[in-house]
């Protein structure tokens, strides 16, 4: 397993080996699926769309419906305008979405198709919408693509009306439907009216009913998106995935915003809850205090199993930083913290966390890859891997347990239904981390050291 990974850390500048990121369009597709009755549309070769649908389906085990401009060589030379026009007509005819959300690919970007101009020229059926955004695959990562699509919805749809709607706009970050449900539960407990953009819950975790729904019940409605211009403020959860959209909303429609880390672990969730309190100006209900207290209780209970344990954490920047913060709160050492998504603030923020918790010798890396992380592990091992499915080769090669969190998880089930955010999410993370470490102990200790009580 991974037998050609050597210990000698080699500074690569051209060869990416075992990436921790993918390209923008898949993120845009996921974001668009979080809008009710929206069909994401990939403007490029049909392979992109196929790959993205495949990947989303494998992570969520749900249909990921999207269409493509199906470029051929001709379109690649002469531009994809007519493909897009044909596509839009066929889509509205056949699939009847309320809105088509078009994103570009490296192909259409390299050609230089001007989506704005193309769409403006198109005849769009009454009451229907086409929005778009640019998602060049050769810049950033799927996280940027996600953000760009969310911003696209704002740019294309949000309007300022005469009066406030009394709601806040929440940007959930690149998270699972289970996380979105947890946000909504907490917002409801805090009695805060909100619009969640996008809202993949009810779409990418839809129930089995015996009837396929191309547009399941979930998702932000177009009406809600239009009305975002009348929100009192917006709340960006996840600095990398959400803040840019909040900034777009501020710039375009003067909606003030507040950015928070993903509410993962105690402190980040505290900040989230207190921000909600600042908004409602009401007391925080006991039920939230109780959840929090239970989490802290658990953290103290489990500390002998987590304290000082070293973890390698990889995945998307906001998620990885959220997990990093939580494992630090558990007394663990986030030895290697790696994202493939570019952005130097990732490293800065990780370093701030290391400093805050006084841990030495931890390394954070943006634009990194798993090959590099594995080399580090070979030089100085860790007790635990935390990340997506692609960590499993390292897990097996080095006999280190892998706790699956983040994206993509394509070799397990159910993960997308349950949150990592909030106190409840942290409780779940704590359980998975502790179980992994304890299972490892139980299976690797000497027979005479097997403990009945732990």
């Amino acid at each position: 397993m991974l037998n050609y990974t050597n210990k000698k850390v080699y500074e690569r500048t051209a060869l990416r080996i075992n990436p921790v990121k993918t390209c923008q369009p898949v993120g845009a597709m996921y974001a668009a699926l979080g809008v009710h009755r929206c069909l994401p549309h990939s403007h490029g070769s049909q392979g992109c769309c196929a790959f993205h649908r495949m990947f989303l389906t494998r992570h969520f085990k749900e249909p990921a419906m999207a269409s493509s401009s199906s470029f051929t060589e001709g379109a690649s030379v002469f531009g994809g305008g007519s493909n897009l026009k044909t596509a839009a007509k066929n889509i509205f005819d056949l699939y009847d979405p309320d809105i088509i959300a078009v994103h570009t690919t490296c192909l259409s970007e390299t050609i230089g198709d001007d989506l704005n101009a193309l769409i403006t020229e198109m005849k769009i059926p009454e009451g229907k919408y086409i929005v778009h955004c640019n998602t060049p695959s050769y810049k950033g990562s799927h996280i940027d693509g996600y953000t760009n699509m969310v911003s696209g919805f704002i740019n294309n749809l949000a309007e300022k009306g005469d009066e406030t709607n009394g709601k806040i706009c929440v940007f959930p970050g690149f998270v699972n439907p289970g996380d979105v449900r947890e946000y909504k539960r907490l917002l409801n407990i805090m009695k805060i009216p909100f619009t969640m953009l996008p809202d993949t819950s009810g779409v990418m975790d839809s129930p089995m009913t015996g009837k396929f729904e191309m547009y399941p019940k979930g998702g932000t409605t177009i009406k809600e998106i239009k009305d975002i211009g009348n929100c009192t403020m917006s709340l960006a959860l996840g600095l990398k995935a959400s803040e840019p959209s909040a900034q777009v909303l501020e710039k375009k429609l003067k909606i003030p915003y507040k950015s928070l880390d993903l509410p993962m672990g105690v402190e980040a969730t505290d900040k989230f809850i207190m921000t909600l309190q600042e908004i409602t100006k009401e007391e925080i209900p006991y039920s939230i205090e109780e959840e929090r207290g239970q989490l802290v209780d658990i953290m103290i209970d489990i500390h002998p199993y987590t304290y000082g344990k070293k973890a390698a954490i990889f995945g998307d920047p906001d998620t990885v930083l959220g997990i990093t913060a939580f494992v630090l709160e558990l007394g663990m050492i986030p030895k290697y913290v790696v994202t493939g998504t570019p952005g130097t603030d990732f490293v800065e923020r990780a370093n701030l966390l290391f400093k805050k918790f006084g841990v030495d010798g931890c390394i954070a890396k943006e634009s990194g890859d798993l090959f590099l992380m594995h080399q580090w592990i070979k030089n100085e091992p860790v007790d635990l891997l935390i990340g997506g499915s692609y960590g499993k080769h390292i897990a097996r090669a080095e006999d280190i347990p892998l706790v699956r969190m983040g994206f993509p998880i394509i070799d397990r089930y159910i993960h997308s239904y349950v949150p990592l955010v909030g106190y409840k999410g942290a409780m779940r993370m704590a359980e998975f981390i502790t179980n992994a470490l304890m299972d490892y102990q139980d299976s690797h200790c000497k027979e005479e050291d097997l403990e009945v009580v732990m």
Binding site: L2, N3, Y4, N6, Y10, R12, A14, L15, R16, I17, N18, P19, K21, T22, C23, H41, G44, S45, Q46, G47, C48, A50, F51, R53, M54, T57, R58, K61, P63, M65, S67, S68, S69, S70, F71, T72, E73, G74, A75, S76, A87, A88, N90, I91, D93, L94, Y95, C106, L107, T110, I111, P136, S137, Y138, M208, G210, K211, F212, G340, I410
Partner: protein, 537 residues
């Protein structure tokens, strides 16, 4: 015209209808049945098709374990083809030569904006240097993705440079996603380069009396290993497999085999064809999916070699294999008989699996290919009729000359005629239709809309397809099994594979969860519930 077909195509606009009606036929109505295929998907119509890159890198090259395949382009395409197809492989040693396996790795130049603007050749070269420094492979393949073709990076020049610099094999594959109309273009591009650069460069002679290559077998779920095991039991040496579990090391020697066995016609027929032209190697369309098919295929091979001893051994192996599975098979048949199936897979599986389904008494009501050509449906006799269009013309088609050193004739014309009389077709494929029942539907490039509609109309017990439509079908309440990935089961090839397949179907059909789809209170009206509480006490 078939009512069913019309019911499904009914909702299309005139323009789409005009296109799609050529792709959807009812078997037996045409005479001969003609299926439009290998044409562009209509923009906006949700096709399940992938692209040229997927066909080249994903299908044909991906399984070659000992080549470092550097995807030259932005990160996505490398990422999506990393470990996502189940072409198993293991590093090994054959005839004193080792072959590594790099399948757990994903290599890419991860092109950035500056590379797009200023060109990516420099980065590609650097990537090769780094790969040589770290991995030290004997072969590097470079696969281009969409923007590379547009910006004009010359990957072939880079490949040439690498060969000279490092004395390794380095091949460029210009398999940009926009080429052709489906994965098919990529197969062709890969085939061309294999014959140009690899086949014929090795010198490890077969050690057995009879030797073959298996073409178009990608070792999904270990199928290739199963087939190789079967052939070995019969005493037949497998020189190389294209390309499941295989290696640059082995493919080099393919020209030294006596016979080519073609499993997946679509993806590899160019190699079969060109090897026949260049080395005189006959090819036999075999099929190791299905019990009857396995028998027929093994016997055909026996007939080809015409050796009595070999034929006897083959019969022994068949008897033994059947003996091992007989009881389970009988049970499975009793459970599966009479079910109906729909199949929509890549280029050959929709054909192969119908035969396996038939072994269990399961009737195919709908079958389609994702990226087939007309010959895959109608048989190779139709090839001369196919008019190349703009898209196909863009894909290089090469011709080869007989190799002065290695060209050989294995069977005389007379021997070939004897075979023909025995019903064994050499260097030919009769297509899927001839194995289908009258009234069954064929649908080329079956799209999402048609899938939904066919489900409603045909209500098959089992729908075989891929990951993108799997959950559409499942959510509709139908059993859906992936035939690209076998839903992570397998092997399905060979005799024991058939039983694994049958068990998987039975599992899918018997899973209790199906009976829970409808909440009982949905059928139990509220009114009925308004009983007095006292009643329970």
């Amino acid at each position: 015209m078939s009512v069913i077909r019309e019911e499904v195509l009914d909702k299309y606009s005139a323009k789409v209808y005009k296109n799609r009606k050529e792709h959807v036929i009812t078997v037996g109505e045409g005479n001969p049945d003609v299926v439009s295929a290998n044409t562009r998907a209509i923009p906006g119509i949700i096709t399940q098709r992938g692209c040229c890159f997927a066909g080249c890198k994903g299908v044909v090259l991906g399984p070659i374990k000992d080549a470092v395949i550097i995807v030259h382009g932005p990160i996505g395409c490398a990422f999506y083809t990393w470990g996502t197809r189940r072409h198993k492989a293991i590093a090994d040693e054959r005839k004193g030569e080792k072959a590594d396996s790099y399948l757990e790795y994903c290599f890419s130049t991860d092109m950035q904006e500056a590379d797009i603007v200023f060109g990516g050749e420099k980065k590609l070269k650097k990537a090769i240097i780094e790969a040589m420094d770290i991995i030290k492979p004997k072969a590097i393949f470079i696969c281009s993705t969409c923007p590379v073709g547009l910006i004009g990076d010359d990957i072939h020049a880079v490949a040439k440079w690498a060969e000279e610099e490092y004395g390794i094999k380095c091949i460029g594959f210009s398999c940009e996603g926009y080429k052709g109309v489906s994965q098919s273009a990529g197969h062709h591009i890969a085939n061309n380069q294999l014959i140009r650069h690899i086949i014929g460069t090795g010198d490890k002679e077969p050690v057995s009396k009879y030797s073959v290559n298996i073409l178009g077998e990608y070792n999904i779920g270990g199928d290739g290993w199963e087939v190789e095991k079967l052939l070995k039991r019969c005493g037949i040496e497998v020189i190389s497999i294209f390309t499941g579990g295989s290696s640059y090391r082995d493919i080099k020697n393919a020209h030294l085999a006596d016979l080519n066995l073609v499993q997946c016609h679509r993806s590899i027929n160019y190699v079969a064809d060109m090897m026949y032209d260049k080395y005189g190697t006959d090819w036999l369309k075999i099929n190791f999916i299905g019990i009857e098919s396995c028998k027929e295929s093994l016997r055909a091979i026996g007939e080809y070699f015409g050796d009595i001893e070999l034929k006897a051994r083959i019969e022994e192996v068949i008897a033994d294999e059947i003996g091992n599975i007989f009881e389970e098979l009988t049970y499975l048949k009793s459970k599966l008989k009479g079910k109906t199936a729909a199949l929509y897979v890549g280029g050959s599986r929709s054909h192969h699996y119908q035969l396996l389904l038939k072994d269990f008494g399961i009737r195919t009501v709908l079958a389609g290919y994702e990226f087939a050509h007309r010959d895959d449906y109608e048989g190779r006799t139709v090839i001369p009729e196919i008019k190349p269009d703009a898209d196909t013309k863009n894909i290089e088609s090469i011709t080869v000359e007989p190799d002065p050193k290695f060209y050989k004739v294995f069977l005389s014309e007379e021997q070939k005629n004897i075979l023909k009389e025995k019903g064994i077709l050499l260097n030919d494929y009769p297509g899927m239709i001839q194995d289908m029942d009258e009234g069954a539907i064929i649908c080329d490039d079956l799209n999402h809309f048609e899938t939904e509609e066919f489900l409603k109309v045909l209500k098959p017990d089992i729908f075989f397809s891929g990951i993108k439509d799997k959950f559409v079908i499942q959510k509709s309440g139908f059993l859906s099994r992936q035939l690209h990935s076998y839903d992570y089961s397998g092997p399905y090839a060979g005799f024991t594979g058939s039983v694994i397949f049958g068990n998987d179907l039975l599992m899918g059909l018997s899973t209790p969860a199906w009976s829970y789809i409808h909440a009982p209170w949905k059928s139990n009206p509220c009114l009925e519930a308004r009983l007095e509480v006292e009643e329970y006490a």
